[in-house]
Symmetry: C2
Subunit: 376 residues, 2 copies
């Protein structure tokens, strides 16, 4: 929690919940990633928070960008960054979107199937492609589904197909799962990447790049390893599996780059009980699942919350959002400890909200405006 | 699926996924609710789809409105409807929002706690309040959490408190759960409502109104009872529990009013497999959980999907959205049967998408625009 954010909130005139992102923290995070893996290119995952001020800062610092759509590509180009710093990292693209990205100068594309390779061969002749490989995600707070990536055995066929169609079979990518606290996860994935390199080499095609994806955690309630620990573990694994022929490498931090840079200020709308004997209070905020806190889904992410009554005696409560929607409950299975003295009208600060909040907000469910955002 | 919608889609020039809502079907649905329960006031739950054309039509037809926020109240007032036709049905309201609603002419408010009653007594002197009572929701496809409502025993205390503070203790409300196919659910809830009326009468306060909420289903893949069956069952229960002193009654259809009036047109972006031996295809659409199909969460709602290849041999597939987010998968636990001949670039029609699609859409996650909406 930075003093700059607290200052901003003290002075702001506007009403309603908002997120405030401190660019100084983003700058520190970028430096940490760049320093921990000096030979690796940082591609910021724009989807985590594509606020223009954040993209501008990262462009200025020298970051590259992982984009999920033509919309995101256009946002990045608006910073003045060259298209050579963009990876179109979505494995699911319309052929006409590939063509638009190519026309905008993008030359690096993700694939995980021969069907996608064929679209790229038609719409982006000669471009570089990397194949995403399935990875089991053990240790991640949000293990990924099998939505992205293919089995390693198929990856070689996909890349060979790309080569045959005149594309540059450039490398492989994986994603170890979001908020990954297990340093060993990258080692398993890199072993698998090295296997694909070996198989491709046997087929006469030399891959050059490993995209190690995202998954770098931000600190919520539990401590997580620091970026230097990740850097060291990853470098050791790279050396172990690739020897002295290290490939070019990419990382795609999103949450790790901006998560801890943002704070949401919200207001307590109601505190009540369901019956006279109810041991648990219900605390309703003016923000919930539909206006920024979607990642509380299944109570996956447990945000640290500060109140003006911190230090007073606490008791468990169910925490919920303001909409007329029964799924708009943040923490119920594991109630949240909050001060008994917390009162209606109190402002609370929800920490580590810089990533996956503004973009997950609905357009205005229940007539409440989307999450307001201030980048300072 | 109406011919008007198919005609519109055939002629539209714009690109990308969209929902098209046919006002003729909304008109029919309103007539069905009004006809099935002629002595009951229909309060359309604006949150289901607050498109101005829908609100205008319903205002013209004589509907009243259930609003979740000042934002929705303003949308309804923009139709020209009088504030006397509005219920501020959210039990979680900021005191300054209550004051704004009161200033706009709203005089009917939902509560489920003494804390909320006190806000209303301060900000909306003399207004009518109804107390929402917890209801177990057995038989609903989406049983509600305990987020809204209080135990019946507490409801009487809440209403008595309102009376004591100069508000009109007007009645009770309940919600049997969304997409409720069990006609008996209303009977249990009405029995409970009658108990509260009896208890209040013993305390010298005569309640006048029962708000029977929403929950009326729309047809997805399974057949559901028609509106007349609901009307008949509810009328019988009212008579059974209230005898010849029937209270004023309100229903709040949302999904039941607009669900079957809307169709989403989407495009197949990619069809692929995870390995050469994978028995299941992955079919990726250009719309998913973050741009309109949020109600596929936990695969709760299974939308009917039409393809240009219907009639051809089918096989199961996993259906997913276009974003770089692993939770953006629509049907995986129970794969969806789609034609084997379905191809990349085919357009599919997702039926019964008139409710809870546009408003659940994110502001632009992954750089994809929010769901486009056309009301015809």
């Amino acid at each position: 929690m930075s003093d700059r954010i607290l200052d901003f909130l003290r002075r702001r005139k506007s009403d309603g919940p908002c997120v405030v992102v401190d660019l100084d923290i983003v700058r520190e995070n970028y430096a940490a990633f760049a320093g921990a893996l000096p030979d690796t290119s940082v591609f910021y995952a724009a989807k985590a928070n594509p606020a223009p001020e954040i993209l501008n800062l990262l462009a200025e610092l020298g970051s590259s960008f992982d984009c999920a759509s033509v919309g995101e590509i256009e946002m990045v180009l608006a910073t003045g960054a060259d298209a050579s710093r963009i990876s179109y990292g979505n494995t699911i693209k319309k052929e006409r979107d590939i063509a638009r990205a190519y026309a905008l100068g993008v030359r690096l594309f993700a694939v995980d199937s021969v069907e996608e390779v064929e679209k790229i061969a038609r719409a982006a002749a000669g471009a570089r492609v990397f194949c995403r490989v399935l990875c089991d995600g053990v240790g991640a707070e949000w293990p990924l589904s099998r939505k992205f990536g293919c089995e390693p055995a198929m990856a070689s066929d996909v890349l060979e197909h790309a080569h045959r169609l005149g594309l540059e079979a450039y490398g492989v990518s994986f994603h170890v799962g979001s908020q990954q606290a297990n340093l060993g996860a990258w080692d398993l994935a890199l072993a698998m990447a090295a296997d694909v390199f070996g198989e491709m080499s046997r087929r006469g095609i030399e891959l050059k790049m490993v995209n190690m994806g995202g998954g770098f955690p931000t600190r919520y309630l539990k401590d997580v390893p620091g970026v230097p620990s990740y850097g060291e573990a990853i470098f050791q694994s790279l050396t172990r599996h690739f020897g002295n022929r290290l490939p070019a490498t990419i990382i795609e931090p999103g949450r790790g780059m901006v998560g801890n840079a943002g704070v949401i200020e919200a207001e307590v709308v109601l505190i009540s009980r369901k019956s006279a004997e109810d041991p648990i209070r219900w605390v309703y905020l003016d923000i919930g699942k539909f206006h920024g806190l979607a990642e509380t889904m299944d109570e996956a992410i447990r945000y640290p919350i500060r109140t003006p009554k911190d230090g007073d005696q606490t008791a468990p409560c169910v925490l919920a959002g303001p909409t007329c929607d029964s799924v708009d409950v943040l923490y119920e299975k594991t109630p949240y400890e909050l001060p008994l003295s917390l009162a209606i009208g109190d402002k609370v600060l929800i920490e580590a909200c810089g990533a996956y909040t503004t973009t997950y907000s609905t357009v205005g469910f229940n007539g409440f405006a989307p999450l307001a955002s201030h980048v300072i």
